[in-house]
């Protein structure tokens, strides 16, 4: 009886558990650099009380929220502060159209498909100063930004031509949700994953159909489209699980977090039956090693000093441990774990003209710590962090999977795992 009384009073997002302690505001990267944003306590639980009375109390400043979720990580009372803020934004945007700029930035797959076709032209043109100036003034995409280079060949094209055939020869199988970045910008990351998984005896397969996970659609208010794509993805992940008995691996922390946690909380898509089957590749591989199901053999005389940056969504999932520990298995790896600070890009946020300065101010603490770490490169699980850190520090940034693939002695690993 007593227990029931308490649980019945609980509302969504642990809203009532907020004790007004302000811890969230102290870790908010946006509130740290601007007084225009009232901070997560005010924007979240405090403001929600007013909004519940009258939606007109919605404060436009909420669009400054990065959705980095650091407030939720710090909250000692388990309040889903960022979800409260994002849901409020969602309600306030109902019936409103997103701008052309936001629609373009959000449609990473559409942009990628077009750009792939004309990759050399697109890369050159997008990099030209006049183009940047036009984008800056007409589209409000900041002129300091360079669009990530587009690849000539999509990952899926490469995969079908060069890898698909042999995948059935392995005894165990996984599906790979490659995401837009791997497909259009950086197929090498997908190739690196195939290389590692094949070496430990896993065949890699594409989903029957994959669409952009929609993280940028949600951030830019295109909820209807995000929902459609989310349904397609979850249906195909479900097929992979039920028909093929394959878990679905990813190499992007943001796609992973979005499909596991934002689909139900932001889009109302029920993923409970498949959520555990969506896994980050580093976590999947770490667990196999930890359970002594596979062995990884590394190249001799490998020596690198890298800094690991915990992406905000990685921290929200609490999975940085897997990537870090996996990299630390490499003999000769000198890995510096950076203090967990936001890089400021937050997907498409930093691309927008009105956010550029704030974005760089937020990232400055991280950039300074990278400089102090004296490393040859940075490693992180998020592609947009990669763009931001590369632009702001000049250092190359690699996904842990690529670092691992580079350090791996593929032949020796195959032998150690009994793969022909």
């Amino acid at each position: 009886m007593a227990e029931r009384m308490q649980t019945c009073n609980l509302s969504e997002n642990n809203f009532e558990q907020c004790t007004k302690c302000s811890i969230c505001t102290t870790v908010c990267p946006v509130a740290a650099v601007t007084t225009d944003y009232p901070g997560p306590k005010q924007a979240g639980p405090d403001g929600e009380r007013y909004r519940l009375k009258d939606p007109a109390y919605f404060d436009k400043a909420l669009k400054l929220c990065l959705n980095c979720k650091r407030c939720e990580v710090a909250c000692p009372s388990g309040v889903h502060i960022a979800d409260i803020i994002q849901q409020a934004r969602m309600r306030a945007s109902e019936g409103k159209r997103a701008s052309l700029r936001d629609t373009m930035l959000a449609n990473t797959d559409l942009l990628g498909t077009v750009a792939n076709l004309v990759a050399p032209v697109a890369n050159t043109t997008l990099g030209l100063f006049p183009t940047k100036l036009v984008m800056h003034s007409v589209m409000a995409i900041d002129k300091h930004r360079t669009f990530p280079a587009y690849s000539r060949q999509k990952f899926t094209t490469w995969f079908k031509r060069h890898a698909a055939k042999e995948q059935d020869s392995y005894s165990q199988h996984v599906s790979y949700f490659h995401g837009c970045y791997v497909n259009y910008n950086f197929p090498k990351l997908g190739q690196d994953l195939v290389k590692i998984l094949n070496a430990i005896g896993y065949g890699v397969h594409l989903l029957d159909k994959e669409q952009c996970c929609g993280v940028a659609l949600i951030a830019n208010g295109l909820y209807k489209q995000a929902k459609r794509q989310a349904r397609t993805n979850i249906d195909n992940i479900r097929t992979s699980m039920n028909r093929d008995h394959r878990v679905v691996l990813t190499t992007s922390s943001s796609c992973t977090f979005n499909m596991r946690d934002e689909y139900p909380s932001m889009l109302g898509i029920d993923n409970a039956d498949v959520r555990d089957n969506i896994n980050l590749a580093t976590r999947f591989i770490y667990n196999l090693v930890d359970e002594e199901k596979i062995k990884l053999i590394f190249k001799q005389n490998y020596k690198r000093r890298l800094a690991y940056h915990t992406a905000c969504h990685m921290q929200r999932m609490g999975w940085q441990l897997y990537s870090i520990e996996l990299l630390r298995m490499i003999p000769g790896m000198d890995l510096v774990e950076l203090e967990q600070e936001c890089c400021g890009i937050s997907g498409t946020y930093g691309f927008k003209k009105e956010n550029y300065e704030r974005s760089q101010a937020i990232g400055s603490i991280l950039f300074k710590s990278i400089e102090e770490a004296q490393v040859e490169a940075v490693t992180t699980d998020c592609e947009t962090c990669k763009w931001q850190i590369e632009m702001s520090t000049g250092l190359p940034v690699e996904n842990p999977i690529s670092v691992l693939a580079d350090a791996l002695d593929v032949e020796a690993t195959r032998r150690a795992n009994g793969i022909k």
């Binding site: 505001t25 909250c75 000692p76």
Partner: protein, 415 residues
């Protein structure tokens, strides 16, 4: 994943224990669900402030007279002095500069202007060694316009009662005025984040030098230094008078800074700190704990030779109560608490409350009891322990730190 030691709880106690073990080359993981109560700490540590309603002058002497159930007895009364010295070392190694002595309490000043006995206080905060010899005669109490987390009149009155002459001086600068745009969020921590540039600090120093001419010491709220004391030092160098900080209402910049420094040092020693994850349950094998699960690592249990429970008291959810019982929610270990809910509280907020003394039951080695039997490799430290009362006795941070080091020693000795 296998560790030497897994610590549940990433507050003061968990970090002190983790640092102590990591320093000896042990692989340590700390599971920390959100920030801790250090967020409310005013820049001081206390060993023992009050016994039987009497203010303690010499904590080391007074500790011997505590009842056997007090956690200090489990640390070992004869070892307290040496462990207290090691705590000071641990702080200075982490870059935290504090002064004080275990055999002579000094006085710290609360945000309300009350002098309370303390063991260690941050060097940039106001500390009074002897109430008959105040460090200054006339204080300029600088009040930031629009900042509400310092009750200035009460603070001034309290300081006057101690014998200071106090001038309350309101001031502001352009940088501070800009922050008033979000009045509800103009907190110590936001001030500390925005008042970092040399120019911003110079503008404050200019105000001090203009307005506080008649004072021998400038006192201002503790709103500087989110990661170290360099901002304070810059300000001091540009201010003509000696400058001291005084604790504010939470959020406390000093407390957050100390946590950041301890966490940084722990990581430097190779420790793993899982921020924002929560220990959920444990698996026992006879009288040993073999692994725990966490909310985020889900299918991967954390295995270890030793475990430490440093989850804090009710406010941190290390202890929970429903309408019928008080319990420890993760491992279900035994709790010292009155069975009858009527006994838990007493009418009147300022009355001593029985529940303050509730906590996890341990043997004389700080090992948790489960159904009366000690779990060989599970120790409890800090506020989750029974038998002490941070509010009434002023022993909260002392118990956290001393039991943390003692548990680390026991883990090593039992190896």
């Amino acid at each position: 994943m296998r560790m030497d030691t897994v610590i549940m709880g990433g507050g003061l106690s968990g970090l002190a224990c983790g640092i102590s073990l990591a320093k000896r080359g042990k692989r340590v993981t700390i599971v920390a669900s959100g920030q801790s109560t250090m967020f409310f700490n005013g820049g001081s540590m206390e060993l023992l402030g009050c016994v039987n309603d009497k203010t303690v002058e010499n904590p080391l002497e007074a500790i011997a007279s505590l009842p056997e159930s007090h956690p200090y007895h489990k640390v070992g009364v004869d070892r307290i002095a040496s462990i207290a010295e090691r705590v000071k070392l641990l702080f200075s190694d982490s870059g935290i500069d504090m002064t004080g002595s275990a055999n002579a309490n000094h006085w710290r000043i609360t945000p309300m202007g009350i002098a309370k006995p303390a063991w260690l206080t941050l060097n940039d905060h106001l500390r009074i060694d002897d109430l008959n010899q105040l460090p200054a005669k006339r204080l300029a109490l600088m009040c930031i316009r629009g900042y509400f987390d310092q009750p200035n009149s009460m603070l001034a009155e309290g300081l006057r009662n101690l014998g200071f002459e106090v001038d309350m001086i309101e001031f502001t600068t352009d940088d501070i005025t800009a922050l008033r745009r979000s009045p509800s969020e103009m907190r110590a921590t936001s001030l500390a984040k925005h008042l970092v540039s040399n120019n911003a600090l110079q503008r404050i120093a200019d105000q001090f030098n203009n307005l506080a001419e008649n004072a021998d010491m400038v006192l201002m709220p503790s709103v500087f230094g989110q990661s170290d004391s360099s901002d304070f030092q810059t300000l001091q160098a540009r201010t003509n008078k000696p400058l001291r900080l005084v604790a504010t209402l939470p959020p406390s910049v000093a407390g957050m800074r100390m946590m950041k420094q301890l966490r940084h040092y722990f990581k430097m020693l190779g420790g793993t700190y899982l921020m924002g994850d929560t220990a959920l349950s444990g698996t026992f094998d006879g009288d040993r704990l073999t692994s725990i699960t966490t909310a985020k690592l889900a299918d991967m249990p954390l295995k270890a030779d030793n475990f430490v429970l440093a989850t804090g008291s009710f406010i941190s959810r290390g202890l929970k109560a429903d309408f019928e019982r008080v319990y420890e929610p993760i491992l279900g270990v035994d709790v010292d608490a009155d069975a009858d809910p009527e006994q838990w509280t007493r009418f009147g907020v300022l009355q001593p409350q029985a529940y303050f003394g509730y906590g996890v039951a341990t043997d004389n080695q700080l090992r948790c009891l489960k159904q009366g039997k000690p779990i060989q490799n599970l120790r409890a430290i800090g506020s989750v322990l029974s038998g002490h009362d941070a509010v009434k006795m002023g022993d909260g941070t002392g118990v956290s730190l001393l039991t943390a080091i003692a548990a680390a020693d026991q883990i090593r000795e039992n190896k």
